[in-house]
Symmetry: none
Subunit: 204 residues, 4 copies
Amino acid sequence: MAEESKKKKIYGAVLELFREGKSVKDIKVSEIANRAGIGKGSIYLHFASKDDVILEAVEYFLDVWLKPFREYVNNADKNFKETCIGFINLHIKLFEDYSSLFNPQSGSEYISVFNANTLPGTIESFRNARLEYLDLVEKILNIGAEEKRISYINRYSANMTAEAIMLMVKYIGFRDVLGIEKEEEYTNEQCIDLTYDMILRVCK
Amino acid sequence: MAEESKKKKIYGAVLELFREGKSVKDIKVSEIANRAGIGKGSIYLHFASKDDVILEAVEYFLDVWLKPFREYVNNADKNFKETCIGFINLHIKLFEDYSSLFNPQSGSEYISVFNANTLPGTIESFRNARLEYLDLVEKILNIGAEEKRISYINRYSANMTAEAIMLMVKYIGFRDVLGIEKEEEYTNEQCIDLTYDMILRVCK
Amino acid sequence: MAEESKKKKIYGAVLELFREGKSVKDIKVSEIANRAGIGKGSIYLHFASKDDVILEAVEYFLDVWLKPFREYVNNADKNFKETCIGFINLHIKLFEDYSSLFNPQSGSEYISVFNANTLPGTIESFRNARLEYLDLVEKILNIGAEEKRISYINRYSANMTAEAIMLMVKYIGFRDVLGIEKEEEYTNEQCIDLTYDMILRVCK
Amino acid sequence: MAEESKKKKIYGAVLELFREGKSVKDIKVSEIANRAGIGKGSIYLHFASKDDVILEAVEYFLDVWLKPFREYVNNADKNFKETCIGFINLHIKLFEDYSSLFNPQSGSEYISVFNANTLPGTIESFRNARLEYLDLVEKILNIGAEEKRISYINRYSANMTAEAIMLMVKYIGFRDVLGIEKEEEYTNEQCIDLTYDMILRVCK
DNA sequence: TATGAATGAGGTTTCATTCAT
DNA sequence: GATGAATGAAACCTCATTCAT
């Protein structure tokens, strides 16, 4: 428990450094220790290596990040539209909570090989997280299908739905950076409506 | 000229290493030299530093990558559907040509901060490349708008269109890795039709 | 304190290497570490760079070297002749203590091994040290002037006085190397007398 | 002959670099070649190695430097005072010709820029040059002894005479840098008189 | 248990020397 | 003969990891 709280302090330090734009190789053990407010050597009481620290921190973050979505979807008891809008709102809230972990360049920065973060374990973790996220999206879409509001559900439409949400979340989060003209600006409410509308289009 | 061909050999080596999942910090000058078949010191006859090599390699790649799209769109003289399909086909072809530069995990790997590549210059280059790409997509969409086939054109729909294409291109390129069930498999032709269809939905 | 003693070990190593005729560029960090009996990386716990190590080592040495002269002159309470002879004797003693830092080839820039370096900071330090030394010599000469034993005191005579002392100190220290014939050999006592005599001549 | 003129161009380049405060290790073969206006590889048509180039350049310089003194003294046919003054004037002139090779920080080791090197061969050369110089000084002093103007001649007084001359030459050459007060300023004529006077004192 | 001083392998960069042209 | 592109040994410096306290 004390053990677990130490680890969490360390995870937090790692995430802080990621937020500042550092890559795995850029992050120094001494920095992690400083941020966590512990001695450098103490890191090795809890982890076998630097890579291990980072891998666990990433896994920890992904779990923390996905949990609200998981719980939201599994306890969903509203109609499709309300469920969608709630999901999007949850997304916006989490995005704000972790805003410094995102950057506007990503998204469909599909040539992401250049950004390769090289810890094989983290790649695996990210893939799994994405797959779980897509499963959650599909569950929501299935509500819509049951309500006959949409019909076209498969990985393609689930992915497109995910993109629609993410693009909008990023639009809201990075309005100023994305170079969008003033006349195109919408309120958050409008944005959410647009997204819901886009989901309907995407899934017929 | 000889100078330029030397540099290209070096760019090639850098891209090869990126393909293998290495990040900027993971790539060693000695490796670049080995791959390029030259001596370590020779790198420094053409570049001021390792970072310089990588920055130029990225810029070179992005230029090479965007050029066919740029030319295709600027010379487009067909109707909307044919232009779309040609664009998607070009994408598929280029994806194959550079397939090892992509990975299936990316796409909406939106928490890309974790992949931070840390060379400020490359981030800028990627952003510019993405913006140019989106401009090209919008140009195509404008053809559709003139033909009254679509109406909803703005950054959101352009982004969604880009995602639709990219998702499909990745689906085709990584069919086996993405865990898609056999019965969901489509021919390339069908995929392209689906994508065109998705674009119509996305832009109304 | 522990910190200071580590630094002193490192200074000692640097001076040892200077003694062996190495210039700033000839001295390798690994050698300094070896001589100091510590690891290469440990140097950087105490200094920011190799140049920094050398600069501080030179400053340290100059301070250690000048301190006895400074104290001797500032506490001088004897007559001119005794003060002169005491000063010369102190010189001879210090020369012996640091004999390997001198070489017979130099002129009066007897600590010329250090000239081997091109670190701007060290040049400044040497100049300041020489100026302080000349001030001390002038203080002694002023005692002689008060006693009306000498009258001609200015920078020229102070410099000549310094040269007279340094030449004699080197004569004693390098008797065998300087190619002086046997019949010209003097005892240390005689040498000191000759030097005192020379000072009287030089300052009238 | 062409060979010899090539070498001289190279020597000149090396001396130029010394003048700029570089040590043996600081001087790059490519720089020597640039200054000499030839290709880097061509250096090796004339010299076996970089050290060889520098050693020969130093020897060449010392020969060029000593030759006028040697000739002046060996052809001396005036009285002691005139010979001394002529010698001092020659010194001042040569100092001006090669002024950038000297620096005010050194003591009498006035060509101290060369001390920057640790090439054993150059140390030997410098020692021999100094010994020859002292021989020339002694020859002049012997004229004074024959005229019964001075009596005290040995290595000590020869060295002191040499120092007296060098200090004054440096005083004239570096008046502004040496921090001498305005009221102590003398004309060159006065300086030469002072030096002659000092030589008389030094040698009784 | 917790620390951080110490280490040294391994990274980037420089530059004397070679050799094909 | 003359060149300078290419080389790679060797330098400086960083930082993950260890271990005595």
